[in-house]
Structures are given as C-alpha cells and as structure tokens.
Point group: C2
C-alpha cells in the first residue's frame, strides 16, 4: 500500500494571512505536513509515502514527487502511471492540512474491506481517499468533492465506505480553525502555534485564538 | 443506561434566523431532535430516554422532564437526583442539534470501557458525554467545555476517552452548517430542509446552501 500527500508550500494557507506572515504560514504548513507524515509512517501500513509538490522539501521517511500540475491533474496522472507501470497496490490520498490525524485513524482506514473509503472534510470536502484499485478510479477535488467521489465509486460499481472522523474532517484553513489545533493537537502543528505565541481565547462564550 | 437530551424549543436556533422563520426554526429543531432520539431508540442501549426542556413536546419512545433551569443547572440537578434516589446507572448526555448521529455511533460510545467518554463538538464544545457513574461527575457546558470536562474527569481520577466522530462533532447552528445536513443527512432534518426548498449551491468553489 502507498500513501500520497499533495502539498503546496509556496504561499501556503493564504487564508491565515491576517495572523501569520508568509514565512510563518509556510512553517505551519510544514508542521501540519509533518504530523500527517508521522501518522502515516508510524502506522506501518505503507511501503512508500510520496509527497506531491512543486517545492523540494525533506521529510524523513517520505519521497518527493515534483509536479507543477494542479491537484486533480497531478493525482490522476500519478494513478494513471501506476497502472501504466503495472504497479497494482492500494493507495491512500491524504491531505496535508489535517494535523489531528492519529495513527489509529490511519490503521482503521487501511483495514477497511471496502473498494473505496471516502473521508469527508467539512463542507463537502474529501480529506482522505482510500482507493483499492487505482486503475478503476479517478479523483475530482474542489467543491462538493465528497459527493463527486461517491458518484465516481457508484458509477464504477465500487463498494464505498464513508469514514467518520472528527480528526480527519478538521482541515485547517482559516483563523478559527487554529483553535482546533490548540484544543486537540499534540504534534508539530500545535507546538508550532504555541511557539509563535498563540493561545486559546474565549470571546462571548465562543472559543477562538489570540497571539500574545 | 439512560440518555438525556437537553432541548430548547422556544426561539430555537436563532442564528438560523436569516434563512428560516421562527416557526421553521422550531420545526427544524424538532426534526433534528427526532433524528437524535431515533438513533438512541434504535441503538437499543437505553432503558430510558429523557428530554430536558421547558416546552411540552412529544417524541415517541422518550419522556419529557420539564425544567426552566439553564443547561448546566438542569443537567447537574438531574445527575444529583439520580444519586439522591439511588439510581446507579450510566448516563449519556447528548445534544439535540447533531442530526448526523448514527446508530453505530451510539453503540460505539455505549460499549466503551472508559469512565467518561467525551465527544467533542467543533470549537471546543462537547456534543455528547458518557458518564459511567453520575455521582462522581458534574457538567460544565459553554466555552471550551471539552477542556473543562476533560479536567473534571482528571480531577476525579476518572479514566476518560475522546470519541472521534465527524457525525457527532457537527452541531448545526449557523447557515453554513445546513450544507452538512444536506450533504450527509438521511433523516428527518435533511428531509425537513429539502421540503422547505433548500439545496446545495456552489459559490466560487465553496459549498453552501440556497433556498429555491
């Protein structure tokens, strides 16, 4: 089984621009990527972990596959090349911005008997996607990709499972999301935010973050 | 084992006021409550399911416990009265606005071996709380209640587990949340929204809802 993590380093996480400088956003994106990579490595489920990126980065235990293509094009090319080179093994595509992911989450997905496991993000996204046979599936991210991936599975008569996880549904895009990292994170991303001076702040009964 | 659902009917879900009239909000709150109650009933785990509310409502298979008290006061009084009347059984407190909850979710929580199971909502909330021995625990909702409940468990030397579920983390408070009901819901709440004319709408790559 192999894992693929698409990763954008340049001008990463632009919606966090109000609280983090460009350099800090890149550092934070790398910290979240490290959390995801560590969960994958520690699960022991994968023979190869490939990071698809336009930037040369180094994360121990992973390979970099350089690409300038967009998300869908890069991933579908990867899946297609696997078939072309007769590499027949399941693939887990997992987003780089879900730092709450646990080793148990990964093991549970990898032990599913379904053909396709779709892990929803909030608001219709797909935060992880397990594909047993990459030769009979393609990805279609952006918008309500959860519905699109379910549809692609149905069209191809593949048995799919929806994986229910708060950890995995929590992609970190906006300022409010940083609270989730401080509330539940125990890894690199939480530590990075704390070192920058971020703390939880209650405001009229709601939880948010502030930088001290 | 018994279940408690705190429920506010009067002026329910005021943050949905931009898209739903007061009557529709009450109807939607009742539909979500019905989804939660049905999952509890169908799980077969509970000898009693009590709805704590200031309104007289009827949901098949449940009892109404009328109270004018606030959330924390009403729940802690309930737990205290159990001890006072020597009713020694575990309790699941579950919010009424998490319509994506599944029977499997409930069974998994009920089969935990922990003293306390905390099910996080988004942004520090607690959407469900399993208490094995109500005589040694009290609740403290609002703000970062997830952290407070974890702290109360630690202080009382109770073994706690955090239950990881997207379904249960998804409390429906704001307009954007309605998209989650349309994307993932299969019960009363999803049907209610569809009957009012709500559909998913993509807007610049983001998923939202509109009313037709």
């Amino acid at each position: 089984m192999r894992a693929i993590i698409p990763f954008k380093k340049c001008n990463a996480k632009s919606r966090l621009g109000a609280l983090l400088s460009e350099k800090e956003r890149e550092g934070f994106a790398m910290a979240m990527l490290s959390d995801v990579a560590e969960a994958l490595i520690s699960s022991g489920c994968f023979g190869a972990i490939d990071i698809l990126s336009s930037s040369i980065i180094e994360i121990r235990g992973t390979n970099i596959v350089l690409t300038e293509k967009g998300l869908n094009e890069a991933l579908n090319e990867y899946l297609h090349k696997m078939s072309y080179h007769s590499i027949h093994e399941p693939v887990l595509i997992i987003m780089a911005d879900i730092p709450l992911v646990s080793i148990k989450n990964i093991k549970n997905i990898a032990s599913s008997s379904a053909d396709i496991v779709i892990v929803p993000g909030r608001m219709g996204g797909t935060n992880a996607l397990f594909i047993r046979d990459p030769s009979v599936f393609h990805v279609d991210y952006y918008g309500a990709s959860f519905l699109k991936h379910r549809e692609i599975a149905s069209t191809n008569k593949l048995k799919h499972e929806v994986f229910d996880s708060f950890n995995l549904s929590t992609d970190i895009d906006e300022t409010a999301d940083l609270a989730e990292v401080l509330l539940h994170g125990t890894g690199y991303a939480a530590r990075y935010l704390r070192e920058l001076g971020f703390i939880l702040a209650e405001n009229g009964g709601r939880v948010g973050v502030k930088r001290i």
